[in-house]
């Protein structure tokens, strides 16, 4: 019934968009990079992705069953959360750790705060941070796709990759973050489908690029060497946890970029994208409050 009858305030615009459709679009946009990650890192990467997706869906289903709520796995948001989390992990992550990550993302970050639409931070990214803090050793065990030996991600260690290698993802990293090319294609698809607006990714990536240039860092490492593309295109643009107005989105993107740059440049961690997005997620309600859009005609009456 709730599908047919929804009482909201005017103006009323009818649109075919549904949660399910949007989630499917994002999953489609992520798939090329995910499949490429599986080819690049082999079977272990595929197993990690399968584990995170299945655990995420199972966790959501069980939670709804246990609390006798309407089943929500059909909206594919749990699939997307699992896929995003898996793509943020190294292919060498033990599967039980990946499963814990999915449970944290779905149960703790999403469902405990009220489910889809009420989570204060991006579930997949917060789960990644929880895992990173909890299992620092296993989580930073990256392998190089060329010879499958342990190696640091380009951000953690100065390397001599060419721009082409960096752009197409022939370097160590998380399963889904290495190929900037496929991630950008996915992002362009989402923008063409009008699922996301380009403001946040462009502001985020642009700020990191500008700050790196000013600081005299290596631009190709900063842009293509870490989780920047995946984070900026797919996680910072999460509807629930990013500001609603264009000005708010701009502030959000620039803030993410600045924090990422500061953590990378001055912090003790090699990568700062996930922390930057989490911090800005927390600021989102305040950004929303300060960038309220003006209702049509507001202020005119007061002058008379």
């Amino acid at each position: 019934m709730s599908k047919l009858l929804k009482v909201t305030s005017s103006p009323h615009i009818r649109h075919e968009d549904s949660t399910r459709g949007i989630m499917l679009d994002v999953i489609i946009a992520l798939l090329p990079a995910a499949v490429y990650g599986c080819i690049l890192f082999g079977l272990s990467a595929a197993l990690v992705l399968i584990t995170t997706v299945i655990t995420a869906v199972a966790a959501e289903a069980l939670w709804n069953l246990a609390l006798k709520r309407q089943q929500t796995i059909g909206d594919f948001s749990a699939v997307l959360t699992g896929l995003l989390l898996g793509m943020n992990l190294s292919s060498q992550t033990p599967l039980w750790i990946a499963a814990i990550g999915s449970v944290v993302a779905i149960i703790v970050v999403k469902q405990m705060f009220g489910g889809l639409g009420f989570n204060f931070a991006n579930p997949a990214m917060t789960a990644r941070i929880v895992l990173l803090v909890s299992f620092a050793g296993q989580m930073s065990n990256y392998v190089s796709p060329i010879d499958v030996v342990s190696s640091a991600t380009p951000l953690a260690k100065e390397t001599t990759f060419t721009l082409k290698q960096m752009f197409f993802g022939m370097h160590a990293g998380s399963i889904g973050e290495t190929s900037s090319f496929l991630l950008i294609i996915g992002g362009v698809y989402l923008m063409l489908r009008r699922v996301i607006k380009p403001i946040i990714p462009v502001a985020f990536i642009g700020t990191v690029a500008l700050a790196t240039l000013i600081a005299g860092g290596d631009l190709k490492l900063a842009l293509f060497g870490g989780g920047l593309m995946l984070g900026a295109i797919f996680m910072a643009t999460d509807y629930v946890t990013s500001p609603t107005t264009d000005l708010g989105k701009l502030i959000f993107g620039v803030g993410c970029g600045l924090i990422t740059f500061v953590i990378r440049q001055f912090g003790s961690l090699p990568e700062g994208v996930s922390y930057a997005i989490l911090l800005m997620n927390i600021l989102t309600p305040h950004i929303n409050r300060f960038t309220l859009s003006k209702p049509f005609g507001a202020g005119e009456v007061a002058k008379q």
Partner: protein
Amino acid sequence: MKSKNMSIFSNGIIKENPVLRLMLGTCPTLAVTTAAINGVGMGVAATIVLVCSNLVISLLRNFIPDKVRIPAFITVIAGFVSVVQMLVKAFTPSLDEALGVFLPLIVVNCIILARAEMFASKNPVLPSVLDGLGMGIGFTATLTLMGMIRELLGAGTLFGFTVTANTIDPMIIFLLPPGGFFVFGVLVAVSNAISKRQGKPVVEHLGCASCPMHSACKNAVLDSNEIPTDCQNAEKVGGNNE
């Protein structure tokens, strides 16, 4: 009379558990419960101070002028904290190291001041001591439980003995502040669920009913969400939950 004393004693353990139901003393709760033994140590130290200060404040309740009662209470409490601190330093230096600054900070522990203000300053000696003992045991039990959960999940040990550390990698986040807040929140939720199941509705008022001082306040309006303008405790309870 006997059963009344008994209920005063048992109140603090479950029904009015200081940490989980009254939301008092959350700062030491979150800070020291990284290991079960720290929880026990903190709980016992606070219980000793609580019982002694309740005893003395109850004895002095007719001599302390109302206007300067808070400084007087604090002086009494600080005296006992100093005694406990010296004893801990002398006999269990490792506990002293683990509790660090939170041991002297028992002086400003909300539970102790709140029980002095709400109970000991208005009741005879025996009930006050029982109240202190009940609250102290409730505090100790909660801290120990939290410490056990965090130690088991975060370090794989229990009271220092290895349990799962060799078979499963522990989740270090449980030893860090986020893990502390998480376990605390889950325990509060569980205790709310238990009281709901027992048929006691969880108090979710905004006004005087949510104030830990309401039972001692003569201006309290319990059936409204508005705080009355003649509120006596606005400064004391204004969200400061040290």
